[in-house]
């Protein structure tokens, strides 16, 4: 069980308020992702939940119990750190067994659980090695193993994959998701990578300067961004944001059109411009179009077969049913 409720939680470091009053509920079994630019307070929020930072005011409850004053060791949560934070003086086996030994579990049961965790995480051959002798991916697995054996109420991950190379990252992402499906335990995952957020989350919490900008499922955020910040943050490549007359004609201060919602043509369209740099991904091609008079660059996504040369004229037509409209305050209209 792991339903986590934050009730008007604030956090200040000295005079600087990093988290303004914030309410948030994470349901039992949910995979929640905190996402936002660097320095927006994601780690701080996670550490408040973990108990590694004290709240300045407000309450935190886990499964209905107020844990605001409870030390991290008694909250029943497990955390995986970006730096892995393995115990360098202990073997992999001892690292994984550590939380169980601290809980004074039976040695036979500890051995059994270590074996089980090592098997599922592919660590059997490394049980007697020290963390220093392992690769980054293996260390990450040990950190996860150490977290799962104690069957916590929730797992907290702080950018656990950012020290891994791209290929390994994708693999570990799947492993963590797999783990979530298998254990069905609440997981809170911090990342600044919106692709990671989109692919993993049941619920995304978009943060900016400690404020929650929007909470919702990946598709909700993608389809109905509540404001310009979320619109610009979710989706890759980012949404095209257009101001001026083109926006005015839709009765908005700013309109947003996603690259995949613009069709291209060599002959006719609503807008036109010249093709700049293009990115060929094989399946898709992204064209960066200049000189449209709408914005510096308009990014469009086209089929992989479509080919426009650098400097060619291109005509663009946005899909009218998926144009996002924002007012002068940057809030969504309609």
């Amino acid at each position: 069980m792991g339903r986590i409720v934050l009730d008007t939680v604030t956090k200040s470091f000295g005079d600087a308020q990093v988290i303004p009053p914030l309410d948030l509920t994470i349901e039992d079994g949910e995979f929640a992702v905190f996402v936002g630019p660097s320095g927006c307070g994601k780690s701080t929020l996670l550490r408040l939940i973990a108990g590694l930072e004290d709240t300045t005011s407000g309450k935190i409850a886990i499964d209905g119990n107020d844990v605001t004053q409870v030390p991290p060791s008694k909250r029943g949560l497990a955390m995986v750190f970006q730096s892995y934070a393995l115990y360098p003086h202990m073997s992999v086996r001892k690292n994984i067994a550590f939380p169980m030994r601290m809980a004074k579990m039976d040695q036979a049961e500890i051995d059994k659980k270590v074996e089980a965790a090592a098997t599922s995480l592919n660590l059997l051959d490394y049980l007697d090695k020290k963390p220093g002798q392992l690769s980054g991916g293996q260390r990450q697995r040990v950190a996860i193993g150490r977290a799962i054996v104690r069957e916590p109420a929730a797992f907290l991950f702080d950018e656990p994959l950012s020290n891994l190379d791209a290929a390994l990252r994708v693999g570990m992402r799947m492993e963590i998701l797999e783990l979530h499906k298998k254990l069905n335990t609440t997981m809170i995952y911090v990342t600044h990578d919106q692709v990671e957020a989109m692919t993993m989350a049941d619920k995304i919490v978009v943060l900016r300067a400690g404020n929650i900008e929007q909470v919702g499922s990946p598709l909700e955020l993608y389809r109905n961004p509540r404001n310009l910040f979320v619109a610009g943050f979710i989706g890759s490549p980012t949404m095209n944001l257009i101001t001026g007359a083109a926006a005015g004609s839709h009765g908005a201060e700013t309109i947003g059109v996603r690259p995949e919602h613009i069709s291209v043509s060599a002959t006719e369209g609503t807008w036109s411009g010249t093709v700049g740099v293009s990115e060929h991904l094989g399946s898709d091609t992204f064209f960066h179009v200049h000189g449209t008079g709408l914005a510096d660059t308009i990014t469009v996504r086209a089929d992989g077969e479509v080919d426009f040369k650098y400097g060619e004229t291109i005509h663009l037509t946005p899909r009218s049913d998926v144009i996002h409209r924002f007012d002068a305050q940057g809030l969504r209209l309609g």
């Binding site: 060791s73 730096s83 934070a85 150490r146």
Partner: protein
């Protein structure tokens, strides 16, 4: 290119030679001390017997006959060992708190502790003598242990603090998440990870305690007198009996030099405050 070649040639041959010269300069007084301790008092001051003389154990026999060398040695061991243990027992929690839960005052507290070392010991000699005598602690093991512990505590805390600082905070926090209480953190994480540093600190503290002379000489007479007092006692009444004095000194510093020799590696690490790894 020429410069590069020259420096590498210097570091190959020049540096070891320089190191040996410096080493010998530092070692020479000890060598001289030991040499003199095997001369008769008469030989010790005769230039013609500077190097060539008939070695004798007379001084050492004399020392063990006239003084209870073993009692002094025992006192040195007892006071140094317990002072070191107490300094660690107080210093480890203290350095731990400052390293992992620093506040705005931490830097000032560290500086203040160091500043106590700047007070001239002589300034408090009279009050110390008066107080220890009036509460009946003069010339007791307990008082010597407390004094040795206190005068070394600042350096012990400073050293431990620098070692603890090197342990990533994440690891301590991971342990907290793994359900460890404060004592468990110290026992399972801090002490094993900082073991080298703690041993270096303990060794250095022990050596400082052993060598301490100002207070041990002035606040003891017989009961709790250490080897420093033995040397001092040999100097005062009998004047310039260099052979005898050397024997006493050699017997006093001998154990600590041997200890230092065996713990060279730890000590170097300790004295460089973990800068060399």
């Amino acid at each position: 290119m020429a410069i590069v070649a020259e420096t590498s040639r210097f570091s190959k041959t020049g540096r070891p030679i320089l190191a040996w010269i410096v080493g010998l300069i530092f070692f020479f007084p000890i060598f001289w001390l030991v040499l003199t301790s095997f001369k008769t008092d008469a030989d010790a001051v005769k230039p013609e017997h500077l190097i060539f003389f008939t070695p004798t154990l007379e001084n050492y026999l004399n020392m063990t006959e006239n003084y209870d060398y073993w009692r002094f040695a025992q006192n040195s061991v007892i006071t140094s060992v317990f002072a070191t243990i107490f300094a660690l027992v107080v210093g480890i929690p203290c350095a731990y708190a400052m390293a992992f839960n620093p506040t705005r005052a931490t830097k000032d507290v560290l500086m203040w502790m160091l500043s106590t070392k700047m007070l001239p010991a002589a300034a408090v000699l009279y009050p110390m003598t008066f107080i220890t005598k009036s509460v009946g602690l003069f010339d007791t093991h307990f008082m010597v242990i407390v004094v040795l512990c206190l005068i070394n505590l600042p350096i012990v805390i400073w050293m431990l603090f620098t070692y603890f600082k090197e342990i990533p905070k994440d690891i301590i926090e991971a342990a907290q998440m793994d359900g460890v209480n404060t004592w468990g953190e110290v026992r399972e994480i801090l002490i094993p990870l900082a073991w080298g540093g703690i041993v270096s600190t303990a060794l250095l503290c022990f050596i400082f305690c052993w060598n301490e002379a100002y207070w041990t000489v002035r606040l003891t007479t017989t009961e709790a007198a250490t080897l420093s007092k033995l040397i001092e006692g040999n100097r005062a009444p009998e004047g310039l009996f260099f052979g005898r004095l050397s024997a006493v000194s050699a017997a006093a510093v001998g154990p600590i030099v041997v200890l230092g020799w065996f713990c060279q590696k730890q000590l170097v690490q300790g004295l460089t405050f973990g800068a060399v790894k």
